[in-house]
């Protein structure tokens, strides 16, 4: 497949994620949209890794492996992030009995 298709697909997914972050107020949904954006990037990374491999396989049999390993590490970090993030959301819910980010305007003060 032309790599262009993957680029546009991933851009679309990423922008959907951004729109979700901007338009929703539920902290959990915002969090999920962030995961969506991460996955869009992951997909693009894999597509590029394969593109790189196709171009350089003759010279280097393992060309493009790095891209996939990056995806792996992103997943690791994302998992850690989710665990901490959800803990924060739980604590927030416990304190203000809501997950609406608009209540979190303490930054103003």
């Amino acid at each position: 497949m032309p790599v262009n298709y993957y680029i546009f697909l991933c851009l679309a997914l990423f922008c959907i994620g951004i729109v979700g972050v901007l338009t929703r107020r539920n902290a959990i949904i915002i969090f999920m949209c962030i995961e969506l954006m991460l996955n869009a990037v992951n997909l693009l990374l894999v597509a590029f890794s394969k593109m790189h491999h196709a171009a350089n396989a003759a010279a280097n049999a393992t060309a493009g492996t790095d891209g996939q390993l990056f995806v792996f590490f992103i997943m690791v970090v994302a998992a850690a992030e989710v665990s901490v993030g959800l803990a924060i959301i739980v604590m927030m819910y416990r304190n203000i009995h809501s997950v609406d980010v608009n209540f979190l305007n303490r930054l103003k003060h």
């Binding site: 539920n26 969090f31 894999v46 492996t65 996939q68 959800l86 803990a87």
Partner: protein, 166 residues
């Protein structure tokens, strides 16, 4: 149009549609479920790109573990019905327009880039196999790998500390 292309388009449409549903669903539980569909579609793409290891990890970690965690939290908070108050219409519109503009700008910018001629290998190439990735991971990337375990440990500790009642 061969099978690969049909699969590509199908998975793409599925991913975009379910992503849109994630964003637009009123009920958080529905959003989670649509997100799982999206992740499955992306895993399908991985398989199409012959990145089998990542496809499996994606299903297990994301669609499995992480999404279950989300669902669990939502259930815990009893947010399954749409409790979200009406948001400012203008701000919503502004968010949509901003995201749309970003997409437009990026597409316009990349539409004629020279990368257009490049082709991503589908169905073939063995770098995505677990053997090759494992070789690379435990030779070149062994230090970051070990460090990521420390990251996990600290994330776990952090989650426990934050979640603990005073």
């Amino acid at each position: 149009m061969n099978v690969t292309q049909i699969l590509f388009w199908f998975l793409s449409v599925l991913a975009l549609f379910s992503a849109l549903m994630v964003v637009t669903s009123k009920n958080p539980v529905h959003s989670v479920l649509w997100l799982i569909v999206t992740f499955f579609a992306i895993s399908g793409h991985y398989i199409l790109l012959n990145a089998q290891f990542l496809a499996i990890v994606n299903v297990i970690v994301y669609a499995g573990a992480i999404m279950v965690l989300f669902l669990f939290v939502i259930m815990l908070m009893n947010l399954n019905k749409s409790t979200e108050p009406k948001k400012n219409k203008w701000l919503t519109l502004a968010g949509g327009v901003a995201g749309g503009c970003l997409l437009l700008v990026l597409v316009a910018a990349l539409k004629n880039s020279e990368i257009k001629q490049q082709v991503a290998q589908v169905k073939e190439g063995d770098i995505g196999l677990i053997k090759n990735l494992g070789n690379e991971l435990f030779s070149t990337y062994v230090v970051p790998f070990e460090i990521s375990s420390i990251l996990f440990l600290s994330a776990m500790v952090g989650a426990v500390v934050i979640g603990k009642k005073e």
